[in-house]
Amino acid sequence: MARAMANEVREGRGAGPNKDYVLLDLTHLEPAVIDAKLPDITEFARTYLGVEPYTEPVPVFPTAHYAMGGIPTNIKAEVLRDNDTVVPGLYAAGECACVSVHGANRLGTNSLLDINVFGKRAGIYAVEYAKDAKFVDVPEDAIAETVKLIEHMRNATGTEKIAVIRKELQDTMDKNAQVYRTEESLNEALDKIKELRKRYEHIQVQDRGMRFNTDLLEAIELGFLLDLAEVLAFTARERRESRGGHFREDYETRDDEKFMVHSMAYKTESDIKIDWKPVTITNYPPMERKY
């Protein structure tokens, strides 16, 4: 669906003055059906565009609204440091985590599974762990690195604006790593991220406050966004096939021989190292999705 929409625009058949969206026609549905089944999306159309979905087609376009993949965990929500070694006492659940229940494409409303099932499981197993866990000696400078990062940022007097770097990052990811991907586009994204990282060292934070400093928060988050964007583009480049939400124009078919595996990304001093983790198949062997 996303590909079909993006393709219409890419090939010049988009709607609107800038030909940059397509139209969703719901007018064949009874208003009562629309109200019952699509209350939110129709409200957005009315609030933001002044479009009445009962009688008019709605301008739409794909957007990133969920991050597939994340911190690897097992089904107890315990964080893994590699393919199977647990980090004791550390749990992750929700969109940040990757239990690998979604396969290569998280389907609609299934993000609730992450939080309802694995959020609960994380709680259960964290309690179990805490019952017998011994206190460990914490080094005296345990918080030093974090304090240093925050203080460095809080006093940053560079010339680069947070919002400008973030917008350029969004633009390159949107253009090069979203619905359609190629070796070339992903390399372009990686080059751009490298450039943005350099500029990020000269970031400017205007709020020097110690309380509720959202300027500082945005600056720190931008660093993590750069990390995540790089991991995403890097692993997407190394996965030379198409599967689920990952579509490579230069490798249009699925390649189970090589890529029926999870991508595991490791941060090294200078770069990202990629490794693979086998997929455990039980009752339901994955199959190609056909329409």
Binding site: A15, P17, L23, T27, Y48, A163, V205, Q206, T214
Partner: protein
């Protein structure tokens, strides 16, 4: 499909225009009192008040502080007082305000201001927690609890609450002393009191029969007017009052 496309009204390129925002600022580390600060920004016809605040924060003054997350009226983070009315900044289109006048933006009232437009939400959340906003049932089901569409419809309106606090902080009773549970907590109690699967309606009704409970509502309808989700808040409160007197119908 082709007829539909031809009949669509073109969403014309909306020209940009200038607006002035007066924003209530308070820096807890340096200010004794809040003060107004004005900013001129160029916005488009499709821009919301949130976009104007972002423009200020991202281009003019990084220290401007406000909460926001989803930016389309679902998460409930950016309730604020805009031209004297509680609204979500992300659902208020600037073109719908009187743009010949400055736009006044201040924090929601009745909660302690932390910084600029950010208030301490803890008293609000505490009232919410106090009404036990979760399903209480004695059995351990082995399959899902079936509910008829009619039974589901009984509390559909109050499931829409996003806990933005626009209703509670528009309530004159809440402003007086902060002790009243407030409309949002009652809305969320309503959501479970009238849920056929729940067994703790009496417990919640008892909590809301408190002197700071439903009886402090003076039916001013501020809450209903403020709700960005269109919930009939005052009606929900009235239904809870009825249930206190006569039991859940």
């Amino acid at each position: 499909m082709s007829t539909a496309v031809e009949s669509v009204k073109e969403i014309a390129e909306v020209p940009s225009f200038q607006v002035t925002l007066f924003v209530r600022r308070f820096d807890p580390e340096n200010d004794a009192e809040p003060k107004w600060q004005d900013f001129d920004v160029t916005v488009f016809g499709t821009d919301r008040v949130l976009d104007a605040l972002h423009k200020i924060k991202w281009e003019l003054d990084g220290s401007l502080t406000f909460r926001r997350s989803c930016a389309h009226g679902v998460c409930g983070s950016d309730a604020m007082r805009i031209n004297g009315r509680n609204r979500l900044a992300c659902k208020t289109l600037i073109k719908d305000l009187d743009i010949t006048q400055p736009i006044y933006v201040e924090p929601i009232k009745g909660l302690k201001v932390e910084k600029d437009l950010v208030v301490d939400m803890n008293p609000f959340y505490q009232a919410y927690r106090d009404v036990k906003p979760f399903l209480i049932a004695s059995d351990s089901p082995t399959k899902e609890r079936i509910q008829s569409p009619e039974d589901r419809a009984r509390f559909d309106d109050t499931t829409k609450c996003i806990l933005c606090a626009a209703c509670t902080t528009s309530c004159p009773v809440f402003w007086t002393d902060n002790q009243y549970f407030g409309p949002a907590a009652i809305v969320n109690a309503h959501r479970f009191i009238f849920d056929s699967r729940d067994e703790a309606a009496e417990v919640r009704l008892d909590i809301l029969n408190d002197k700071e409970g439903v009886w402090r509502c003076r039916t001013t309808f501020n809450c209903t007017e403020a709700c960005p989700r269109g919930i009939e808040v005052t009606k929900a409160i009235a239904e809870v009052k009825q249930a206190v007197l006569r039991g859940r119908a």
